[in-house]
Amino acid sequence: MESLEKFLQSVGWHLPAAARADILAELRANLEAQLEEREEQLGRPMTEAEGEAWVKALGSPVAMAARYGPQRSLIGPGLFPVYWYVLRLVFFWSTVIYLIVSGVLLAVNGPTAEAAGMVALRLPGVWFTSAAWVTLVFAALELAAQRSPKFRTELAEKVGAFNPGPIPGLEEDEQDRRRQKPRSYAQAAAEFVFSVLLLGWLLLIPANPYLLMGPGVAFYQSLPYRVGPVIEWFYWTVVVLNVVQAAWAGVDLMTGAWQGPRRLERLAVKLMGFAPLLVLLAAPQHMLFVLRNPGADEVRLGGTLYTINESVHRGLEVVLVIVALQFVFEVVRAVRDRG
């Protein structure tokens, strides 16, 4: 019957080559026996239409052929929960990293509506690439597990293992967080001593730049660029801040205030931390770096210097935004703790 022949031919296209002839011979024998019995019951040969209906009821030739192959999955049920978890993590972090990098590039190159639009349009591509790589890795693991029983056992042990030890401690509830462990006197004293030492180091830097740059001093001195006048203002702002912090720590030690919560001090330090940043951002014409020999190098290196200064300025603007957000977060937390 032609329908049966067509069905067997279709099944054969999807069978593994090595076993194709044998499987088709067996399938043919079984189906022809079935056909004969049907025709005996009918008392006549089946018409072509009846034959087609019968063959249709056998189902898809592709599905039939697939069942003769080994049962495979791209990512099996054992690995799939881990795969799903990793995929969600990678989606999240690839999005975050892509947006941060795109934001910085937008800031450096000058934000335009077109550039921002391109960032949004490229995001699905980032997701697709991330998903493709994660799927490829896990499909490779699944294939290796299917081919090697030893690897399959090891993988199953790793995936199924649960060790509560390394898991971070139970999350603090709100009350535990408010009852912060008090600092010891030794800790407070050590912090004061450290702040004094830090101040001493800062004060020595102008006369001994190697204390900051190490062997890189020679390299810096060989560059056609040097730090601009605004860096001196920045330096002294940092020194003043450290003097204030060291003095505050000293007063706390003498008055016993070191035992109390230091929410206000932390907020004040964070607020003061804006000062050096704002000094740099306020540099005239964004000139953080200047030429050592402007007369000789202005024409050759002026453009490059401009690009360097503008890029650093844009980067500092991004840093300012991040620091501001952190400060707001600290304020909100402090207000919540007091409440």
């Binding site: 011979a25 067996e26 399938l27 024998a29 079984n30 079935q34 056998l58 039939m64 069942r67 003769y68």
Partner: protein, 109 residues
Amino acid sequence: MTVAENLFENLRLELRRGSLTLAVLAQLRQEHYGYTLRKTLAERGLEIEESTLYPLLRRLEAQGLLVSEWREEEKRNKRFYRLSADGEQMLGQLLGEWNTINASLNNIL
């Protein structure tokens, strides 16, 4: 098909899936070829589609639970299957497991 019918069908298939192998091994305590096996199982109340049964026979043979041979019968070459020694042992174990599950279910129900 409604959602409830769809759900029932999925769960029914899941319930059947595990029983098919046991039924096929049990029936092959006597020699059969594919079509007569399907017919015998249907007469005993277990309908199995061709696309399920015939590949299952190959898989069980690949697992060493069945042995087969081509023989001519009624002027046609047919592949006859029967249990191997490993298949008989496996059948015994699966029957034991089946009886345990059956007893547990009867307790629960």
